[in-house]
């Protein structure tokens, strides 16, 4: 398929994005014709489009790429985060189909066509993004073909909203499976709420062999596999309805080291008594600064979540006082005032909380909006992060977390021995 540019030579067929607030954006179709409905979100990464659309956490969503040129380096099997495209539609400013990068096996447009994914190009994606930013993530229709706006609007009405949806059970594996890695030394059970392949690879690289169980696995199911560590995966949708997952993790804490990412982090937080809420438009991109409060370091992180863990009120108030705010406009802007700092992050100690499982601390904070990015139990071995240390796409600043998890496993092994 190399060198073909067929996708770019298709005649431009009108296609559109219709938001639930009635805003309509005209463009032209690529990939596969059709009409699809779901929550529309935007991702601000400039690379990694294939990883994004195959990430199960995007299940049921339609992704707008803010970077205008998408498809530049083609598509490669090794970049897949799952065996299918999960996002229902792809919205770009300009789609590219050249597959001349040394890793490319196929053109992006051709690949989406084969995957029967509807794409719209020629959209003012910045205008669309600004709309989503100001109005929040919302439902939308993406259509290419012979559809009337009225019909689309009506079907859009019937599309369920993301809040309250258990999507993890739809994307989890049907049957348990195991993977042995070259360096694998530790038995880890992965609970699959929609796991990305690169997480499994990182666990493998850190020295784990994995047994992957479906989302609905119980604590007994997990413990029956005699794990030395349990990993709670990422996944799509609202964490609130996942009672079964919460019950399972409740039965694991204190018995085996636990590590969670994204949805897994939200589940652990719920177990610790925290609440989750839907963010206005979520975090999706590869440039968010997160402060590791325990190590006093800033990590640039890969993000993909629409829900977040609520900071308990007392801690939120403590945080509020920290922000001095940006420049006044009179000065050079990069200052909070002579000698003043813009934001002085609290230490992890200041953000401690008591839970049914003993003391815990907020370990990571998002420096963009102060949202919770990580939590750690202090009296037992469990921690989780909201962002994606496995990256893919995104920076590798946080891969140490996989090492931390394995350290927990090793310490626990030593203790038990």
């Amino acid at each position: 398929m190399k060198n073909q540019e067929s996708g770019n030579k298709q005649p431009e067929a009108p296609a559109a994005v219709l938001l639930e607030d009635g805003t309509l954006y005209h463009g032209h179709g690529f990939g596969s014709p059709g009409a699809v409905f779901g929550e529309i979100v935007f991702n601000t990464g400039m690379t990694g489009y294939q990883e994004v659309v195959t990430d199960p956490s995007y299940h049921g969503q339609m992704v707008t790429f803010t970077y205008p040129l998408i498809g530049n380096y083609g598509v490669s099997t090794t970049a897949n985060e799952s065996d299918q495209v999960h996002s229902r539609a792809v919205i770009v400013r300009e789609a590219h189909n050249l597959a001349r990068n040394s890793t490319a096996e196929q053109g992006w447009i051709d690949w989406l066509s084969l995957q029967e994914v509807t794409g719209v190009a020629g959209i003012d994606t910045r205008a669309l993004t600004r709309r989503i930013r100001s109005e929040g993530a919302m439902r939308a229709a993406v259509y290419w073909g012979d559809f009337s706006e009225a019909e689309m609007a009506a079907r859009l009405e019937d599309t369920p909203s993301m809040a309250g949806q258990d999507l993890a059970s739809r994307v989890t594996c049907a049957e348990p499976y195991e993977i042995e890695f070259l360096k694998g030394k530790h038995r880890v059970v992965v609970i699959d709420y929609g796991i990305k392949r690169s997480i499994l690879k990182q666990l493998g690289a850190a020295g784990c062999n994995v047994t992957v169980l479906p989302a609905w696995a119980t604590a007994e199911d997990v413990l029956a596999a005699e794990p030395e560590g349990v990993f709670l995966s990422n996944g799509p949708g609202d964490p609130a309805p996942l009672d079964y997952a919460v019950r399972c993790v409740e039965g694991l804490l204190g018995k085996v080291p636990v590590f969670g990412i994204c949805l897994g982090h939200q589940i652990l937080s719920m177990v610790l008594g925290l609440k989750t809420y839907k963010l206005k438009f979520g975090h999706r991109g590869v440039n968010h600064p997160v402060k590791n409060l325990e190590r006093d370091r800033v990590e640039i992180t890969s993000q993909n979540h629409g829900f977040a863990v609520e900071l308990p009120e007392a801690l939120a108030a403590r945080l509020e006082a920290r922000q001095t705010g940006g420049g006044s406009g009179e000065d050079t802007g990069t200052s909070a005032g002579p000698g003043k700092t813009f934001f002085e992050a609290p230490s992890a100690k200041e953000l401690r909380l008591d839970t049914a499982f003993g003391a815990a601390t907020i370990s990571h904070l998002n420096l963009y909006d102060g949202t919770v990015e990580g939590i750690r139990c202090l009296d037992l071995q469990a921690f989780s992060v909201q962002y994606h240390p496995e990256a893919s796409p995104g920076p590798h600043d946080s891969r140490y977390l996989f090492e931390d998890f394995v350290n927990d496993i090793v310490i626990n092994k030593v203790k038990q021995a």
């Binding site: 540019e5 970077y67 930013r133």
Partner: protein
Amino acid sequence: MPRRDDIHKIMLIGSGPIVIGQACEFDYSGTQACRVLLEEGYEVILVNSNPATIMTDPDFATRTYIEPLDVPTVSAIIELERPDALLPTLGGQTALNLATALYEAGVLDKYGVQLIGADYDAIQRAEERDLFRQAIERIGLRVPRSELAKSVKEACEKLENLKLPIIVRPSFTLGGFGGGIARDLDSFCRIVEEGVTASPIGQVLLEESVIGWQEFELEVMRDRADNVVIVCSIENVDPMGVHTGDSVTVAPAQTLSDVQYQRLRDASLAIIREIGVETGGSNIQFAMNPETEEIVVIEMNPRVSRSSALASKATGFAIAKIAARLAVGYTLDEIPNDITRKTPASFEPTIDYVVVKTPRWAFEKFPQVDTTLTTHMKSVGENMALGRTFKEAFMKSMRSRELDVEGDSEASTDELLATIAIPCAERYDLIMELLRRGVTARQIEDVTEINPWFLKEFAEIARHEAKLRGRELTDTKQPEPPGRALADLSEQDLRLAKQTGFSDAEIAGFTGSTEAEVRAARIAAGVIPVYKSVDTCAAEFEAETPYFYSCYDQENEARRSEREKVIILGSGPNRIGQGIEFDYCCVHAVMTSRDCGYEAIMVNCNPETVSTDYDISDRLYFEPLTLEDVLNVVENEQPKGVIVQFGGQTPLKIAEGLSKAGVPILGTPQDAIDLAEDRGRFGEVLRKLGIAHPPFGTARSLEEALDIAAGIGYPLLVRPSYVLGGRAMEIVYNQEDLERYIETAVRASPKHPILLDKFLEDAIEIDVDAVCDGEEVYIGAVMQHIEEAGVHSGDSACVIPTFSLAGRLVDRVREHTANLALELGVIGLINIQYAVKNDEVYVLEANPRGSRTVPFVSKSTGVPLAKVATRVILGEKLAAMDLPEEPVHPHVTVKEAVLPFSRLPGADTTLGPEMKSTGEVMGVATTFPIAFAKAQQGAGQTLPREGMIFLSICDADKPHLIPLGKKLHELGFSIVATAGTAEALKKAGVPARPVRKFTEGKPHVVDMILTGKIDLVVNTPRGRGARTDGYEIRRATLRTGIPCVTTMAGAEAAVAAIEASREPGIQLHTLQHLHGRPTHTS
């Protein structure tokens, strides 16, 4: 970790004069740093020899020294000022090298000055090739295989371990100066020899060639808590082998997968940590083999660089400001991002547009120079364009170059393919032409190794063009008129054309219509541009800083405010004749407009400048400076008017079009501009005022020219009309010269006639900058040139105040200036050049706009002329401004030009009416000779105090020879001279040893120069000879760095300076003191 309170006084070193490889980007970074440090309450001691910088405006530092950037001078300043710290990372390679030298000389230790930003060891690890290689290998990466050599012999021995082609890189030079690619043994020996000479430590690196690999750059920032972020990735469209400053580059990287990009990111983080750049920005260059994905590290700049300026402008991330804050102790998360103001600087910008930079060269001014692009940078400027697609950004950038559109090439397709195989200035124009001829992207890839993704984009542009023309992509000639008329284009066609980046003028060309017709049709069809913000975050957060670019998408973010506004047009890419001096004026115009209560809107496309810093103006439009693009901004903003007189010739060129479109021109009206530019009308004015001028004529053909020449007599100064920097200006001494000239000059500017002026030999040239408000004229300064008339004013050293002109003549100059400005109807700045000969004052030309001497005058006198002019333009009267009378000068300032010859191998170093300099320095002292000596020193031509002088004086200058020789003899110099000159000296009783000319065979003077026997050369040539003796002599001085004076007046000034510089001690003056300002201490 908040701000450090253990340091109070910080010294900042600027980058000195503009040279190839180091342009106004360091004024931008230095200005930002100064502002930040003052704001933080530190005392800032600034040293920079370049007066044409915003950073050296007295408001931007506590004390400002416009002094030579060398160890003796800066040591003396350190001794006087006793700063706690020296910040060396914001003044380019000049500051970094000087800081290194100060450290090595023990000066920093002696006075307890701490290097902040990057310490000595880190600088060494990054700059010293072998240490760099070791550091890179320690972290599991590699640099191209390489060997070091200190001589040609050693290099040839090392050749055993390496294969040709080989890249030769001298250690410690900027812009790759002195290096090159050796493809065979001959060129290998030659380049090694040049490289060893160019390197301050006499060492070159012989490097495995990775020519043809893809080239990437990452801009990295680190704070002292070891947080690291990548600001931006930049991909070079030209593969490895072309210096990044000479490459078309694009941000962000377009052809890398996330996996590949993250590998470069990981490598960058590891490198900045291993090298140990403690705080601030660095630039790291990589080459990647497109087939195997193998990566090698090419180099790292442990400082803010040209690419940092580009990355700053491309993303909105204020690298220099943030680097300055990091240097004084803040961490990235303690600093707000000044675009969003609500998020911290500890993030990585993400952009939702494409940025393309294209370089601009000045080869037309240096006919003997090799125009091949190599690892040694040759461009003098650059532009940047933003678009929503690569095609749009690329096309905007191509038109931002402001080149005259060349017609299609006559060359065959095969010839063109051969031409583009070797990187050259016209490469992309020729690629586009080949694609139009139906050559495939693959064929072009085969010869250029340009990444196929870019070639696919170029091919799409060509396809769109063919569609608009209603034509096929083919080599065969197609019938005129074009296949499609403007009326045939639908709204969709027009929109697509604009989204592809075509200008109205280009569409007019495709459809056989005019630019105005296309504009009208487009607007009628509703195809008008919208403006998007540059916000660092792809719209994830609200942007507070209004920084815009145009595109043809749906939503317009640049909503008009209610305030009254003025638009100031910038000067576009730097070129010889139009550089930082004009940006300086533009920035002053913006600041003053803001002070006067207007919303100041800047339009410019030069990423190196202070004017394109988004917080200088109220609004910044990063747009090409074409009539179309400016009209679009005007329509979006509806200003009170447009200010065109500060950006040099660029805005003036479109002033007429703006005026015709009904846009008010603020300041000198269009008719007055025309009155000054039109020779016939201007002659009338002079006659009316009774002002003398050299006889002149205007010719539209060779016959006319010969007629005029017969009437006026030779020598003649000839030039095309409407040019800047003396483009194609020459002195012709006879009919043969004139005929040859007309053939080339007509080509130089086809639309305009040739001007012929009687050339006044041996006249003194005078420059005046003045402001006129229509009622009154304020004279900024009367400057006397050191070189006689005939040397372009931009290349001539000049002095304030005049040093050898009778008071009554100065008064006459002042009187003429006032009369002319008023008669022409100037509102704002005017620059007039005069020649004084035999007690007569002649007007040479008048330019009703800001000139390149405005910053020099402002620094010299303390009256900011461009600010005064802006107030006048906005309606204030001079009488109300309480300006000082032209001061009685307690000091003398000398401006000296800095020439790019050493960076353009083969160039003749003779000065003439065509401007060749890229930059300038200023010398300040209590007397003229000392000020002149300091200016020479600042320009890198430190005059000897003793030794041997070589004199070669042309016949016309012989009358001045004897006094000069006598003086030199008295000063103890030994003199060698060409036979004729030596004979004349001996007759007058001055001992002089004759030496053979180059053409007289060895041993000759060129050998003596090359072997370091000569300390100063005075060689006054006449006429233009390619391979004359003079040419070889001047080339030899260039290679050895020996000062070479090419005019008699220059020689006399040099001798006076040598005499004066024998007095002990170094005179130091702060600008604040010179201007009689209280220094603000904190």
